[in-house]
């Protein structure tokens, strides 16, 4: 297959996938039924699931599916958006290339052969995309979009605490795209309850999310045949097997874990046991019985009431345990064992060598231990006393059919993945090189601000306080002055004006971040408080060097309590740099802070669209302009589908125009939807799609191999002696 058609071919493939996927997108999306060759049916609205179920043959399609699944592994969300965005990008690309066959971009390759010309062309374009992804996107995110971000955390202190209502909104929006229409509220409510019930210590919810994500399979119980509304959270841990022996016990229950049979065997593997007489055989059997009894008795003396075993124990052990009032659960899977060990921090019991007294060091306690009957099946129900931040709870998922149970399981698991991602800081590799030419017109007011502690003209409001602290560091022979200037101001005018001033003088002063609370958000959830993530920039200005580097390495977040006088509080950290450093290059890496969210309904897309177009206008390089334009237009594809069924005032053009007007006049964007989505997830999706696109564009030839694939042996893993 020649590359000439690669965009067209890829577009065809993407369009087919888009038609399947777009039916499931958003709150109005519908379900898809997948039948397996085994006769089972699976219901799904999960893009990744659908793409896998299609078993696509087309090479380009397989590349796409591979990209989607690698993206899903990382983030757990966004497969449908991925396909739609990719499709729109390809569409935009084709339009451009159809129009300008001999554009300035490709003039230099006119002389080459047609095929090679095409290849080069695609290579150029893909490189442009790559540059965009690594440089411009991060820059735009950091400089423009970040001021619209909201935070999911509620408190103003250093500790990050989860806010219930915003979590509900985040999960609500997620489940809108994942489960059937009539179960969305129920599922997000269930999950929200679950997260809060499992979190023993508020500030350590991240550990909880990590644990639940890792061990989700062990933490849910699927029940078929009951209505979905019967799904509930069960306190404690449910093991999906029955007791081998159950002895009711009150009070705290001591637990021991074993990983081998308690009854000694005649011979272990690799050894040989010689029987010389019948008496010897009988004595050894007698010894085995006595020894088993002794061990179980010993356990009873230590007040052990529950024996968890990863292997099947012989009848004798079960019998002895029953006589001594010890309940036994056998054949625990290694996953269940690792979950229990994580929760109670208990190491397996090592059988004592001699049958003498042996103090049990490895025991844990449970509040209760009883059988649980769900749909006439018996399970083991353990009330473990957790030693970590995770308070064990299980989810019983009920549904009329197994396919629906699986859908809900997958959706919940994905939601935990998504939350985990959302609460992680995401580094932007924002490398901005600013030349000194553009810095001549820097406003003089900034020069003063270093000493004068106030910014009278820029901000037409009272500045609450501003302070600076200077730290002088010695590092080698270079003396580095780290000026840490932070101006906390209480702005009444939106900060945008200020920023516009600042932007033309980037090397001197740059407004890095400002968070503005969204009014609508605050109204809907009054207890959320204000979002005041603050970036504390470190500026290290090197005065000794003639070519100073301005590096902002680590960003520490600090929530500052600012006297709330006006409704719009905004904390404005200013990055300041002295005028002496005329020629400057500033490299700084920034990041999307953990828990950044935006309202759903295409808010992110419209914002990015707007700022990318703005950027494209300013940009001098034509390639970048073109790429930015294509991406800006393609990204609107998702909100267009989301608003397809809406009419009148809520139709897409109306929403779009309103949003643009709001942006131009610096009004807050008003969203009519309640729901939040993670910015980090969206950003990762964008980069994944761009990487996938470059992947598709750079391939010039597909070689079709009919032979069976050969096993690839890992050379390193084999030991060569």
């Amino acid at each position: 297959m020649a590359a000439a058609g690669s965009v067209t071919v890829a577009l065809h493939v993407a369009e087919v996938l888009e038609t399947i996927v777009s039916g499931c997108l958003g709150p109005e999306g519908r379900q898809v039924l997948c039948t397996k060759p085994t006769g089972e049916v699976l219901l799904s609205r999960d893009g990744g699931c659908l793409l896998k179920a299609l078993h696509l043959e087309h090479p380009v399609a397989r590349v796409m599916v591979a990209c989607v699944s690698s993206h899903l592994r990382k983030t757990g969300d966004g497969a449908k958006t991925f396909i739609i965005f990719l499709c729109h990008l390809l569409r935009g690309l084709r339009e451009i290339t159809d129009k300008e066959k001999d554009s300035f971009l490709f003039e230099n390759i006119q002389t080459c052969g047609r095929h090679w010309k095409n290849c080069c062309r695609w290579k150029f374009i893909s490189q442009a995309f790559l540059t965009f992804q690594t440089q411009i996107l991060d820059y735009v995110m950091d400089h423009y979009l970040s001021r619209h971000f909201l935070s999911i955390f509620s408190s103003c202190t250093k500790e990050r605490t989860l806010c219930r209502s915003s979590l509900e909104m985040l999960l609500g929006a997620y489940f809108c795209g994942r489960v059937g229409r009539n179960n969305q509220n129920l599922m997000s409510q269930l999950m929200c309850d679950y997260v809060f019930k499992c979190t023993a210590c508020e500030s350590r919810f991240e550990e909880v999310l990590e644990l639940v994500d890792d061990c989700f399979v062990e933490l849910k119980v699927g029940v078929t045949g009951l209505p979905v509304s019967d799904s509930r959270i069960i306190a404690g841990l449910v093991l999906q097997r029955d007791f081998s022996v159950y002895c009711p016990a009150d009070g705290d229950i001591r637990i021991v874990i074993v990983t081998e049979t308690i009854q000694p065997l005649f011979s272990i593997s690799g050894s040989e046991f010689t029987l010389n007489s019948e008496a010897q055989f009988q004595t050894s059997q007698f010894w085995i019985t006595e020894r088993t009894k002794a061990i179980v008795k010993h356990l009873q003396n230590q007040n052990v009431k529950l024996l968890l075993s990863t292997v099947k124990q012989p009848d004798l052990v079960i019998y002895c345990a029953g006589l001594n009032g010890i309940s036994v659960v056998e054949c625990l899977s290694s996953e269940e064992l690792s979950l229990i060990q994580r929760v109670i921090g208990l190491a397996p019991f090592v059988l004592p060598e001699a049958s003498s007294q042996y103090e049990l060091s490895h025991t844990a306690l449970a509040k209760f231990c009883k059988p649980l009957i769900l749909r006439s099946k018996r399970f083991v129900h353990l009330g473990l006393m957790s030693t970590c931040s995770f308070a064990p709870h299980c989810i019983a998922l009920c549904a009329p059919v197994q396919g629906l149970v699986e859908q809900h399981e997958n959706a919940l698991h994905g939601a935990f993945k998504m939350l985990r991602q959302a609460f992680k800081d995401l580094d932007l590799n924002c490398v901005t090189q600013t030349s000194d030419q553009s810095c001549t017109s820097g406003p003089c007011i900034y020069k003063n601000s270093r000493e004068s502690n106030e910014l009278p003209k820029i901000v037409n409001s009272s500045i609450q306080r501003s302070y600076q602290d200077t730290v002088v560091k010695k590092k080698g022979e270079l003396a580095k002055t780290q000026t840490n200037l932070k101006v906390c101001s209480n702005l009444i005018v939106p900060s945008v004006k200020l920023e516009q001033n600042v932007l033309c003088s980037t090397p001197k002063v740059a407004v890095t971040d400002s968070y503005q609370t969204d009014e609508t958000l605050r109204c809907s959830s009054p207890n959320k408080g204000r979002i005041m993530d603050d970036q504390e920039p470190f500026i290290e200005s090197n005065s000794a060097n003639s070519k100073p580097e301005n590096t902002r390495r680590g960003i520490s977040y600090e929530n500052l309590q600012v006297t709330k006088l006006a409704r719009k509080d905004s904390i404005l950290p200013l990055r300041y740099k002295s005028l002496e450093t005329c020629t400057s290059q500033s490299y700084y890496s920034s990041s999307i802070p953990a828990g950044c969210v935006l309202p759903v309904g295409g808010n992110f897309e419209i914002l990015l669209h707007y700022y990318l177009l703005n950027y494209a206008k300013k940009c001098q390089q034509s390639e970048q302009t073109m790429v930015s334009r294509i991406i800006a237009n393609a990204i609107l594809g998702v909100p267009k589908i989301l608003y397809k069924s809406k009419k009148g005032n809520y139709s897409f053009p109306q929403v779009y125009v309103r949003a643009l007007q709001a942006l131009q006049t610096n009004q807050p964007m008003i969203s009519n939807q309640t729901g939040l989505e993670s910015v980090a997830g969206k950003y990762q999706l964008l980069t994944s799609v761009l990487q996938c696109l470059t992947n598709i564009l750079t391939v010039d030839l597909v070689i079709n191999i009919k032979r069976q694939p050969q096993e690839v042996y890992d050379q390193d893993s084999e030991e060569e002696l």
Binding site: G29, N182, G225, L226, V228
Partner: protein, 570 residues
């Protein structure tokens, strides 16, 4: 090396419900389940040309288990019904018919699925909250001090399964047996948590139904040969029992993964047998009267025990182990070494009984909640059906203990609900329209679809071409014979409504079930004397029917929400 084969691409179809094929298969399934419904339902004969027995049934559990379904949408539907039956035993056909009706009715309307699902959910919550409310007039509280209502419930379940082939007298007999079996499983000194015992159904095919019986304790079937070896049982007040879960055949148990080297001349069999004899001696010295073993007992040990007047029964099987250990109060012994005296149990009496051509060893306990239901029927198919029905009835009784209510059967609950929903949505639509953001017309259309689904469900109880009427006071179900001379004023004919609660003595005005009529408020609050007066009511299990209703609506919503089907053809 695993076999590597490229997977074939799947087939993707959009809008799975609009095609002719889908409509036809849905209609076929609907016709199938509708014709089975109720006491007058037609039987289905499932016959597999490749082998297996022929099944004659009208129960959803047996019908759907043997019915291969190819259409993916129907797979969802039948899976939902089967899962419901696995949970509640009863109400499978109800769920299946309602789900089919809902899908068909709504499909015909062509409204946006989101609106349909929202409104269906709303109507469902209207139904469930009404059925759970105190003022519900189609639900009666179950009085455990008399057997009347419980007996009616069991009888309704038995009569609704015509494939059991029972005559009226047999129905009476079996329903009393079932109720007695159930009552035997209830512990006498009930605390906060009642742990119900178990009634074990013992098959006895080829006998008259009237010969069925309920016996307290456990029946263990023994062959005639074994019977000869069992000694005459001596008279005693109590018998000491030892129950083994470990094999007493003298085989060598797990010796580990290593190798076991046996010198020449050493016989492990003898060693093992010596051990068994030691065990036998211990049993004898402990004065054990009866030895039961889940697995096999070595013939020598058996002989030894017999000479010492100990009865030994082996090959009991794992399914009887738990009831046996409960009945006798033993702890199943897993050791060949010394036996702790605390693991012995006892029974009050032992006897050998003969039912039909089978011999049983009957263990009569002192006081436990285990009983055996000896079930007879003429042939295999009818017995299978009767067994399933008995299990359903026992399960329904257990569910009734949890939720002490019963719903009026015979179609009356459905018609009453329809009247309630119609009235409610006509007179108080504001709250719905505000909450669900839909138009008045949409609400009316969906309500009509929902109600006619329920009505057609009630109507499928009538298979003989009769007419179905409903009254405008209680909203109950009345059926009249077909082919009546036109001269007769038919509204005078029905004597009792479907559930048997009301008689036509009262001044009632009737109308055809599926005719257009004015919504009326059905009388709520059931009067006490009404339930007391009627001697035989037709009743349904409350929990099963409520859950069936929910599952049917949820599954219908699920099916209507499908945008495409991806079929994996590998």
């Amino acid at each position: 090396m695993s076999r590597l084969e490229a997977k074939k691409p799947s087939i993707c179809r959009s809008d799975p419900l609009t095609g002719e094929r889908a409509r036809a298969s849905l209609a076929a399934l609907k016709g199938l389940v509708m014709s089975c419904y109720g006491p007058a339902g037609r039987l289905k004969q499932l016959h597999n040309g490749r082998g297996g027995s022929v099944v004659t049934t009208s129960q959803s559990a047996a019908l759907l288990a043997g019915l291969p379904v190819s259409h993916p949408v129907l797979k969802v539907l039948t899976a939902a019904v089967r899962n419901h039956v696995a949970c509640f035993s009863d109400g499978g056909l109800f769920t299946a018919i309602l789900c089919c009706n809902l899908v068909e009715n709504v499909q015909r309307l062509g409204l946006a699925p989101t609106t349909v699902i929202k409104l269906n959910k709303h109507l469902l919550s209207l139904c469930t909250s009404y059925l759970k409310s105190e003022g519900c007039a189609c639900r009666i509280p179950v009085d455990f001090s008399s057997t009347q209502i419980l007996l009616s419930l069991v009888r309704s379940i038995l009569t609704s399964k015509p494939a059991c082939m029972l005559i009226a007298k047999e129905v009476d007999h079996i329903s009393t047996l079932i109720l007695r079996a159930f009552l035997l499983t209830i512990p006498e000194n009930a605390q906060e948590h009642i742990i119900l015992g178990k009634s074990i159904i013992v098959p006895l095919k080829g006998q008259r139904v009237i010969d069925s019986a309920v016996l307290p304790g456990i029946l263990i079937e023994v062959s005639e040969v074994q019977l000869m070896k069992i000694l005459p049982i001596k008279k005693s007040d109590s018998f000491k029992v030892a129950l083994f879960c470990v094999s007493l055949s003298g085989d060598l148990s797990d010796t580990g993964e290593g190798t076991l080297l046996v010198s020449y001349g050493v016989s492990l069999e003898n060693a093992a047998l010596d051990q068994l004899f030691n065990l036998g001696k211990q049993l004898v010295s402990d004065h054990v009267d009866l030895v039961l073993c889940q697995k096999v007992i070595h013939p020598s040990l058996k002989q030894f025990l017999r000479t010492h007047h100990v009865i030994a029964v082996d090959r009991i099987g794992v399914s009887l182990m738990e009831p046996l250990s409960k009945v006798t109060g033993t702890w199943p012994i897993g050791s060949l070494g010394s036996i702790s005296p605390s693991s012995y149990g006892s029974v009050k009496d032992l006897c050998i009984a003969k039912f039909g051509c089978k011999h049983f060893f009957h263990l009569i306990p002192n006081k436990t909640t285990i009983c055996s239901l000896l079930l007879c029927n003429r042939n295999d198919t009818a017995w299978d059906e009767l067994k399933l029905t008995c299990q359903t009835a026992l399960h329904a009784l257990q569910l009734t203990i949890k939720d002490p209510y019963a719903l009026l059967g015979g179609g009356c609950t459905e018609t009453h609900l329809v009247a309630y929903i119609r009235h409610k949505t006509r007179n108080e639509p504001e709250s719905v329209l505000r909450d669900e953001r839909c138009s008045q017309t949409e609400l009316q259309l969906i309500t009509e679809a929902f109600c006619s689904a329920l009505e057609s469900l009630a109507g499928s109880l009538e298979h003989d071409g009769g007419e179905i009427l409903t009254d405008s006071k209680y909203g109950h179900f009345w059926s009249v014979q077909a082919n009546l001379p036109s001269a007769v004023n038919w509204p005078d004919l029905p004597s009792r409504c479907g559930c048997g609660l009301y008689s036509s003595q009262e001044e009632l005005s009737w109308s055809f079930l599926r005719s257009a009529r004015h919504p009326f408020p059905p009388q709520t609050c059931l009067s006490r004397e009404a339930t007391g007066s009627a001697d035989t009511l037709t009743l349904d299990c409350f929990t099963a029917k409520l859950s069936g209703l929910q599952v049917a609506v949820e599954t219908a919503s699920l099916i209507l929400d499908l945008s495409c089907v991806i079929e994996d053809t590998n």
